[in-house]
């Protein structure tokens, strides 16, 4: 068997996660040694209809994008969702909290009626097609990305934490930022980033998405304990945790 062919596609996103791939430096050679990269707009001009693995970055925000990603899915044996925009809809999902016409007008002003600015509710890639592997985070963690690729080559299931960021945060000996009045989403957010934000003194804003079984009721208790407003928690959760329907008040 030849090298698996990989194609990289982007949808609505800032392309920050692809940039992380570009920034792999020496490891990019290992990657191109193990895979045949057949399509990657960010780094090459070739296009291809033949590939084994599709890496999809970004969220699905327009009807024509749904068709495009379905097409990609049909051709690929394996589909990887790259980054928060793709895995959970990411920041793009904030928009689902508002009426679409309102959002468009806010962003594009009087141009908002032009047809190429057509938009729909934001979906994560997995809400449109089957996703085989998710590379979490905004942006992704490079080591986790290459680890997942090696697991695919080895035919072995990658071990992605099912536990929250607090685990990594505590192991690092950090002081919990709740003690400084910050609403940290660490207890309900999937670990794997090495508690990047709390380790620098910032709250976790949940970019890796929720763990499989988050205890949101417990989070409400903590808000009470620290005499904070439940609205704070909800506002923080919207950034990366918005759903398809508007977040309930």
């Amino acid at each position: 068997m030849g090298k698996p062919r990989v194609a990289i596609f982007d949808f609505a996103c800032c392309e920050g996660c692809q940039l992380q791939i570009v920034n792999l430096e020496e490891e990019i050679l290992d990657l191109t040694g193990a895979f045949d990269v057949v399509e990657w707009r960010e780094a090459m001009s070739e296009q291809s209809d033949e590939y084994d693995i599709a890496i999809v970055e970004g969220s699905i925000t327009r009807p024509e994008d749904e068709e495009r990603v379905k097409n990609i899915r049909r051709r690929a044996k394996i589909l990887i969702a790259l980054g928060a925009c793709a895995t959970i809809g990411g920041i793009n999902k904030l928009k689902n909290n508002f009426e679409l016409g309102e959002v468009k007008e806010y962003v594009y002003g009087k141009d908002s009626e032009k047809p190429h600015l057509d938009t729909a509710k934001t979906k994560a890639v997995g809400e449109v097609v089957k996703v085989d592997y998710k590379v979490h985070g905004c942006p992704i963690d490079r080591d986790e990305f290459t680890y997942i690729l090696r697991c695919i080559l080895l035919g072995k299931e990658p071990e992605i934490p099912e536990w929250p960021v607090c685990v990594e945060c505590k192991a690092k000996g950090n002081v919990c930022v709740w003690e400084y009045g910050q609403v940290c989403l660490g207890p309900i957010t999937r670990a794997g980033c090495g508690a990047r934000c709390p380790s620098s003194g910032f709250r976790c804003y949940g970019c890796r998405g929720y763990i499989d079984n988050p205890n949101v009721e417990a989070a409400k208790e903590v808000i009470e304990k620290y005499n904070l407003d439940i609205k704070d928690l909800k506002a923080k959760m919207k950034l990366f945790g918005s759903g398809y329907e508007p977040t309930k008040k």
Partner: protein, 345 residues
């Protein structure tokens, strides 16, 4: 071995000398908290600390460590052979280390842990300031009599210094400012230790520690586990900060040649979703309530049964402060059980 006293200047000189020749880890401040970290100067050492964020266990069982390297055909264990001095270990943390020593040297000899343990010189010290949540007095862990090389007690201008090993004896032998501990010095030390046995007690356990296994025997079906489960994040904070938790997870990382790589272990915890997954993905003991119950049983019954009765909670109080929803405090749980089902029979 002997009990001496050493002037504070003499002790600082000893630490400076050690810093010049080896790796010295000591308790230092971090904001308004304390941590164990590499010591750059004796002036940074804070033996007046209350409690550290993480226990000193992290120098023996590291949060993440490489166990071995493989190249596809053979593998080679990797050891950390650096000698180091650990300064400032409180009695409860020393007792926790002694417990893990037992667990890792008896049925499952853990050569990585034991190698580090042998490479370490431990300078313990009696508690000078009670932390917010300590309850070592309740657990009988406010003072310690073994495991350290030297034990210091601050009696004002001097430390009373008890050496328990040849290593400790030799170290004190090198120091300046060492003199005979007089009766009054020993009395001063005894006073501090007696007070600690009473006053390191911010949460008072309603029974003797030795009665806990019997209490738990009757508590399998108590509603408290479900109640606590509702408020638990499964965030493992209570495990991560605990000096007696010793679970780890082993992972292989394979390099790009898809043959060579490393086997690592990282701290794990019984509160984590995924901890109970065994090979094949079968998961048992799944609910949050069951996991909380497991942690308490582990500390109060299962581990004690393995190590000769000692309770595997040393009352450091770290889990109490680490738990965002205030449900990890073992004393609160035990006292509630005592109230509801009583001790005895």
């Amino acid at each position: 071995m002997g009990i001496k006293k050493i002037s504070k200047d003499g002790f600082s000189g000893l630490i400076e000398g050690l810093i010049a020749e080896t790796t010295v880890i000591g308790v230092q401040s971090k904001g308004d908290k304390f941590v164990y970290d590499l010591l750059g100067s004796s002036a940074n050492l804070r033996l007046d600390y209350d409690v550290t964020i993480l226990p000193p266990k992290k120098y023996f069982l590291q949060p993440a460590e490489i166990l071995l390297r493989f190249d596809g055909e053979k593998y080679e264990a990797e050891f950390d052979d650096e000698e180091f001095v650990l300064v400032g270990v409180h009695p409860y943390d020393m007792i926790a280390i002694n417990q893990i020593d037992k667990l890792y040297s008896e049925d499952n000899f853990d050569s990585h842990y034991m190698r580090r343990r042998e490479n370490a010189t431990v300078i313990a010290c009696d508690v000078a300031r009670a932390s917010e949540n300590v309850f070592a007095s309740s657990m009988g862990t406010a003072t310690v009599s073994e495991g350290f090389d030297i034990l210091l007690t601050d009696i004002g201008d001097f430390y009373v210094a008890e050496s328990a090993t040849d290593k400790g004896e030799k170290l004190l032998g090198k120091a300046e400012g060492v003199s005979t501990a007089e009766d009054e010095d020993l009395k001063a030390r005894e006073k501090i230790q007696e007070e600690n046995k009473k006053n390191l007690n911010k949460h008072k356990l309603g029974c003797k520690p030795s009665e806990l296994p019997g209490l738990l025997e009757k508590a399998y079906n108590h509603p408290i586990w479900e109640e606590l489960g509702k408020k638990c994040f499964s965030c493992g904070s209570c495990n991560q900060v605990c000096p007696t938790c010793y679970c780890f997870n082993v992972q292989d990382e394979v390099n790009w040649d898809l043959k060579s790589g490393t086997r690592k272990r990282v701290w794990d915890g019984c509160l984590l979703d995924g901890f109970t997954k065994v090979a094949g993905g079968h998961e048992f003991r799944k609910s949050r309530a069951d996991r909380i119950k497991h942690r308490i049983y582990r500390k109060g019954k299962y581990v004690p049964e393995k190590i000769g009765g000692e309770i595997a909670c040393v009352g450091c109080g770290r889990c109490v402060g680490a738990c965002l929803t205030d449900i990890a405090n073992p004393v609160k749980i035990y006292n509630r059980l005592i109230e509801d089902i009583g001790i005895g029979k």
